[in-house]
């Protein structure tokens, strides 16, 4: 890959890297806050929200690492990036399978717990599958990049 293309790629990914890092930090902060609320006995719903925020943190963290690696090497295809994309796909898939928890208090003695598996979960699962497919595209991209690097 030529130096100019690499430099352009590094410049283009700067804003994305900053934004994903900020979202990642915000997701971690939200997760910790939800966990603290749960530990203070404010409701069981906080623990599911904490887990969802942890999943967002993991996704954004991996995305940040991918973007940082692209900025470092100037190359978009590498084995590490493919592995990270696959981990992202698995995490999204697991996050999609997880049902959303709702705790409803009917009166002082009766409490209803609901685990819902809705369209939102299916969308998350599909996004996970799409990222998995994209990781396979990156495998082909890596082979093309290696070939291109061997052409003067």
């Amino acid at each position: 890959m030529t130096d100019t293309i690499s430099n352009k790629l590094k410049k283009r990914t700067f804003a994305d890297t900053v934004i994903t890092c900020l979202i990642c930090a915000a997701a971690l902060a939200a997760s910790v806050w939800q966990l603290v609320c749960f530990l203070n006995g404010e409701g069981k719903a906080y623990i599911t929200n904490a887990v969802y925020n942890l999943l967002i943190f993991a996704e954004m963290g991996l995305l940040s690492l991918i973007l940082l690696e692209i900025r470092k090497t100037g190359k978009p295809f590498s084995k590490q990036i493919i592995t990270k994309l696959r981990i992202m796909a698995v995490i999204l898939f697991i996050g999609g399978i997880m049902p959303s928890y709702t705790d409803i208090r009917i009166d002082d003695k009766t409490e209803m717990v609901s685990f819902a598996f809705d369209a939102q979960n299916i969308i998350i699962i599909f996004i996970g599958i799409i990222i998995g497919i994209i990781s396979e595209v990156f495998v082909y991209g890596l082979s093309l990049q290696e070939d291109n690097d061997l052409i003067a």
Binding site: D3, D147, L150, I151, A152
Partner: protein, 68 residues
């Protein structure tokens, strides 16, 4: 491979160093060194054109075919 790169011979004939050629062609030293030692899989017409222009030679002067 049966194609041998004769870049070193052309450079020696013109008394040109690898660094000077790389600078004038607009390539990195590493890439040109890899091309010279036959580690590259191929060469772009664009690169060949630049090398021929600097060395004032024909593409045929840069490569030689020998039977395996």
């Amino acid at each position: 491979m049966a194609i041998i790169v004769r870049l070193d011979k052309m450079m020696a004939d013109r008394k040109m160093s690898l660094n000077e050629l790389a600078e004038r062609v607009g390539m990195s030293n590493v890439n040109l060194s890899n091309l010279k030692t036959g580690k590259m899989k191929g060469i772009r017409f664009e690169t060949m054109n630049a090398i021929c222009k600097v060395l004032e030679c024909q593409p045929g002067d840069l490569f030689e075919y020998t039977k395996d």
